[in-house]
Symmetry: C2
Subunit: 288 residues, 2 copies
């Protein structure tokens, strides 16, 4: 990994003109790889980027990254940058789009202790970059608002942050969506958020369990009054939150709905409808 680098002249670095997606591998199996490949392809299309690899070739490259890294549980990045122009041209159409892929050991927003006791989150009044500026459906690297929120959360003594949309409602945090549970019903912000794939998994799990889950506005006071709160990310899955600013969620312990969803989420990692073996895709593995 120390040798994986990008040119300082790449628009992906100089202008954050880049999109990416991250899929995870758990115990040798990709989790919902197709959904990640769909989103990656849509993001590239919206940014008018093209790669000389088709969907199957990208999947094979990712599988080979995992295989070569030796990780059985991994965080796998696929990145497409605008690229650089050999003439230093200021016209992005002159740049050659580049593909970068790598596999890291699986990482989580919440560590083991935090998964057991729940995270402590602070709400920052920094506004998530609005959809009129950058389409949040394009998974992008524009994070200075999220980093600002994170530093404010650290100042406050919290462990991570939620930032707001232009109306002051909750948007998302650095790398995660958020859900509030009230009277057994789930709600997650609809505006100015990435449509996360773990967020989608929660909708799918709720549908299977016959639970109500909708996307809509949630104000700061509303989320603080929730029975349970959890965040969702490919980096960690479904992760409980037990404190927001000075407010304690419910009795301060990880709630029953959150536990039930976490358990089902991890069970899906062996379900062939939700996951697929890395070895099926890697061309470098000697198959019998």
């Amino acid at each position: 990994m120390s040798e994986a680098k990008v040119s300082v002249l790449d628009w992906g670095f100089l202008h954050s003109d880049v999109t990416y997606d991250t899929v995870h591998v758990w115990d040798g199996r990709f989790f919902r790889l197709n959904l990640h490949l769909d989103r990656f392809s849509q993001s590239m299309q919206r940014l008018r980027m093209k790669l000389p690899y088709d969907r199957t070739e990208i999947a094979t490259i990712l599988a080979n990254c995992v295989f070569l890294s030796g990780h059985t549980s991994a965080y796998v990045d696929m990145i497409c940058t605008r690229g650089a122009s050999p003439t230093f041209s200021r016209d992005p159409r002159d740049a050659e789009n580049r593909f970068i892929a790598f596999a890291l050991p699986f990482g989580s927003v919440a560590n083991k202790e935090q998964l057991e006791r729940g995270l402590h989150i602070a709400i920052s009044d920094t506004v998530r970059i609005p959809p009129t500026s950058v389409d949040p459906k394009i998974k992008n690297c524009h994070w200075l608002d999220l980093v600002q929120g994170l530093f404010e959360a650290y100042d406050y003594g919290a462990e991570t942050a939620l930032i707001v949309d232009t109306n002051g409602n909750i948007a998302e945090g650095p790398g995660f969506n958020v859900f509030a549970v009230k009277d057994g019903r789930l709600r997650t912000p609809a505006n100015a958020v990435l449509p996360g794939i773990t967020r989608q998994s929660v909708f799918d799990l709720c549908s299977e369990l016959g639970m109500s889950a909708v996307a809509g506005d949630i104000g700061p006071s509303e989320i603080k009054a929730a029975d349970e709160v959890f965040i969702t990310s490919t980096a960690g899955g479904i992760m409980p939150v037990t404190k927001i600013d000075a407010a304690t969620m419910g009795d301060g312990k990880v709630g029953a709905v959150t536990r039930r969803l976490m358990s089902l989420y991890w069970k899906k990692h062996t379900d062939p409808e939700w996951s697929s073996p890395v070895s099926e895709l890697a061309s470098l593995i000697n198959k019998p």
Copy 2:
């Protein structure tokens, strides 16, 4: 330059958690280097970044980049990234801030022909990332809104773009500020724009010439009705605009105010109060 790279794990790439500044060298002299160093230092401070180099050391590194590149006119970048954490930690405080500097041949937003006849610009309704999300005083790489505007301008048949602020007034373009001249008075957007150093130079030149120049709102219809329009950037200085969307500025030729400012701007490049020889700063040059 082909060897100048940044780690794909650097937050500067993965989260665009980076600031930079660009100073230019013209005929062996830095132009307003102190103003660029001031802004770079303020940007770093606002992002809570620190480097192990003081101001003089940074200036010396930049001068050495120019000297080693052999360019007598150059575009010189200083970049500070959040860096990467050796443990893949998701806490930006664990990252080691990195410094990158390089010199490229001097480049301009407008080419020779465009400087003579004036640029053709299209106004996009993409909204520049608002100050409530990212402080525009921090020179940043969050450009997806500007790139979107640029592609829309190309679709329209224009050469570059202006995008708007949240109120629909003109903000800025990809790498430049804009000025409108009406009845001899100059006006440039105040909101959601980088306080550019070439923009500052225009204020300073106007003050010297006894001309009125203020920062304030300019609507799309107002700018299209201006007598003259020009853009400002370290990459090219003061550059005329003669067409916005379908509207022609004045008589369609580069106006008298723009020509006068362009001429004085370039004269300042030999003025010791505005510029300084690269050789004064480069430690690698054998001095007599």
